[in-house]
C-alpha cells in the first residue's frame, strides 16, 4: 500500500516533468523564425522557482538538474552551465524558504528577481571568462524582464489551476516528520 502523500509527491514530480517537456516542445516549434523579436520569458525557470518556493519536496534537485540539462542540449546552449546555475539558485531559494517561514508575495518577487538576475549575470560572466560567443546584453536583460513579468502569472496558474500551494505549518511539520 503506497502512502497517499508519497503518491501525490510522485504525481506532482511527474507533472513537473510533463510541464517542462511541454514547454521545451513548444519552444522548439518553428512558429516564429524571425530574429530580433523580444525574447519570451523563460517559463521553465518560473515554474521551477515557483514550485521550489511552495513545495520544495515536489521538485527534487535531480529532477531540476535533468530537466535543465536536457533543455540546454535542446536549445543549443552551452550544456551544463545554465543547469548548474539553476540548481544552485533553486537550492538557495529552498533553504531560504526553510529558514524564513512566512514570505509575502512582494518579498518573494524581489528574491526571485534578484536570483534570476544573479544567475543570468553569472552565466554571462563565466561564458565571457571562457571566451564563448554570447548574445548581446540587451537580449539577456529583455529576457530577464519578460521572465519577471511572467512569474506572477505562473504562480497564479500553479496556485489555482494545479494546486501548488504553500503548506500550512501543521501540514509541513507532519510532512517533515515522515
Amino acid at each position: 500500500m503506497v502512502d497517499p502523500r508519497t503518491l501525490r509527491r510522485i504525481g506532482y514530480a511527474a507533472l513537473y516533468v510533463a510541464i517542462c517537456l511541454g514547454l521545451m516542445i513548444y519552444n522548439i516549434l518553428p512558429i516564429d523564425l524571425q530574429a530580433g523579436t523580444i525574447p519570451g520569458p523563460d517559463l521553465m525557470l518560473c515554474v521551477t522557482f515557483a514550485w521550489v518556493l511552495r513545495r520544495p519536496r515536489w521538485v527534487p534537485v535531480l529532477l531540476i538538474a535533468a530537466m535543465f540539462l536536457v533543455a540546454d542540449l535542446m536549445f543549443m546552449r552551452p550544456p551544463g552551465l545554465w543547469a548548474a546555475l539553476v540548481v544552485l539558485a533553486s537550492e538557495y531559494l529552498r533553504n531560504h524558504d526553510n529558514g524564513g517561514g512566512e514570505l509575502t508575495f512582494g518579498n518573494e518577487m524581489l528574491m526571485v528577481a534578484a536570483t534570476i538576475l544573479t544567475i543570468s549575470l553569472a552565466d554571462r560572466l563565466v561564458l565571457s571568462l571562457l571566451l564563448v560567443d554570447q548574445v548581446p546584453v540587451r537580449l539577456t536583460l529583455l529576457q530577464f524582464l519578460t521572465t519577471i513579468v511572467a512569474y506572477p502569472v505562473v504562480v497564479l496558474i500553479s496556485h489555482l489551476g494545479l494546486g501548488v500551494r504553500k503548506m500550512s505549518p501543521t501540514e509541513d511539520a507532519l510532512e517533515a516528520r515522515l
Partner: protein
C-alpha cells in the same frame, strides 16, 4: 514551529548538501567538457536531437499548423491593404519581367559567345522544417533530411528565393541549419553591380550586418547581394538579398529569403572542387614525371 522543522530535517541535510554538490559538479564538468572538446559534445547533442525531435513530430505538426492558421487569419484581416500592395507590386513586376526577358536573351547570347558552362553541381535536396532552436538567442532550424539523404556539413540552404543559411550539424535523419541572422553566421558575399566584397554577419536582428566592405562609397541601398564563393564556403552567385542602410549609417542586408515562412528548404549539393596541388601533373601525364626522373638519374650515373 520553524525551529521544530529545522531539527526534523537535521538528519537529511548533510546528505542533501552532498548530493546537490555532486549534481552541480557533474553539470559543471559537462560544461567544461563541452568547452574543451566541443565537436564531440555537439555530435552527442545532434544525435540526441536526431532521436528526440522526429519522435515528437505527431505533437508538433498540429500545433505548428494551428499557429500557422492563426497567423494566416491575422493576415486576412489586412487583406484589403495587402491586395492594394500586391497590385502595385504586380505592376512593378510586369515592368521587371520585360526587363528580365530581354536580359535573359542577352545573357544567353553572351554565355554562348563566352562558352561558359554553368555549374552542373547545383542540384538540391528539399527538406521540411521540423523545429527551430527554441531559444530566442539562437537562430537555427532543424530539417528532416540528414546523413541518410547525403547531407554534409557546410552545404548552403535556400528557400527558393534566397540564401537561408548553412548546414551545421548533421544527424542520421535531421540536419541543423544555422540561419544568416544567427550571431555565429558569417558569409562572404559580393555586392552587385560594383563587385565589392563583404561579409554578411548575423547579429540576432532581422537585417544582418554587412561587414568588411572594401569601399563604402561604391555601394548604395538597393544593390544586390550574392554569395561570392570566397573561402569555398558556398557556391558563388546565390542571391542573398539587398543592401539597406540602417539609421546609424551602417549597411545591412535585407534578406531575399522569406524568413517568416520557412517551411521547405533546399539544401544545395556542393561537391568539393578538385584541388590543384602539383603544377607538374597538369602539364604531363602521371607516368611522365617518373620517366623523366629515371632518365635524368641514368644520365648522371652514366
Amino acid at each position: 514551529m520553524a525551529r521544530d522543522r529545522g531539527t526534523g530535517e537535521n538528519y537529511g541535510r548533510p546528505i542533501r548538501r552532498i548530493l546537490t554538490g555532486l549534481v552541480v559538479l557533474v553539470l559543471l564538468a559537462t560544461f567544461l567538457l563541452w568547452r574543451i572538446d566541443s565537436p564531440r559534445v555537439e555530435r552527442f547533442r545532434m544525435a540526441l536531437v536526431d532521436r528526440v525531435v522526429p519522435s515528437f513530430d505527431w505533437a508538433m505538426a498540429p500545433v505548428s499548423f494551428a499557429a500557422g492558421m492563426v497567423q494566416d487569419f491575422q493576415s486576412y484581416s489586412r487583406i484589403y491593404e495587402q491586395n492594394q500592395q500586391l497590385r502595385r507590386e504586380l505592376q512593378q513586376m510586369k515592368a521587371w519581367k520585360e526587363a528580365a526577358l530581354q536580359l535573359e536573351q542577352q545573357n544567353a547570347k553572351l554565355l554562348d559567345l563566352n562558352k561558359v558552362r554553368l555549374d552542373p553541381k547545383l542540384t538540391h535536396v528539399t527538406g521540411i522544417v521540423l523545429a527551430d532552436a527554441g531559444s530566442p538567442f539562437r537562430q537555427s532550424v532543424l530539417l528532416n533530411v540528414g546523413r541518410r539523404d547525403g547531407i554534409v556539413d557546410g552545404w548552403a540552404t535556400t528557400d527558393g528565393l534566397g540564401l537561408v543559411g548553412r548546414i551545421a550539424g548533421v544527424g542520421e535523419n535531421t540536419a541543423r541549419v544555422v540561419l544568416l541572422t544567427d550571431s555565429n553566421s558569417r558569409v562572404p558575399v559580393t555586392i552587385q553591380p560594383s563587385g565589392q566584397r563583404a561579409l554578411v554577419s548575423g547579429d540576432n536582428t532581422k537585417l544582418p550586418l554587412l561587414d568588411f566592405i572594401e569601399d563604402d562609397d561604391q555601394i548604395r541601398p538597393g544593390d544586390r547581394i550574392v554569395t561570392s564563393g570566397d573561402g569555398s564556403v558556398f557556391p558563388a552567385g546565390i542571391a542573398v538579398g539587398q543592401v539597406a542602410r540602417a539609421p546609424d549609417g551602417r549597411y545591412r542586408a535585407r534578406l531575399a529569403a522569406d524568413y517568416e515562412r520557412l517551411d521547405f528548404l533546399r539544401v544545395l549539393r556542393a561537391m568539393p572542387k578538385e584541388p590543384i596541388t602539383d603544377p607538374g601533373s597538369l602539364l604531363a601525364p602521371e607516368g611522365a614525371a617518373l620517366l623523366i626522373e629515371s632518365l635524368t638519374t641514368e644520365a648522371t650515373d652514366g
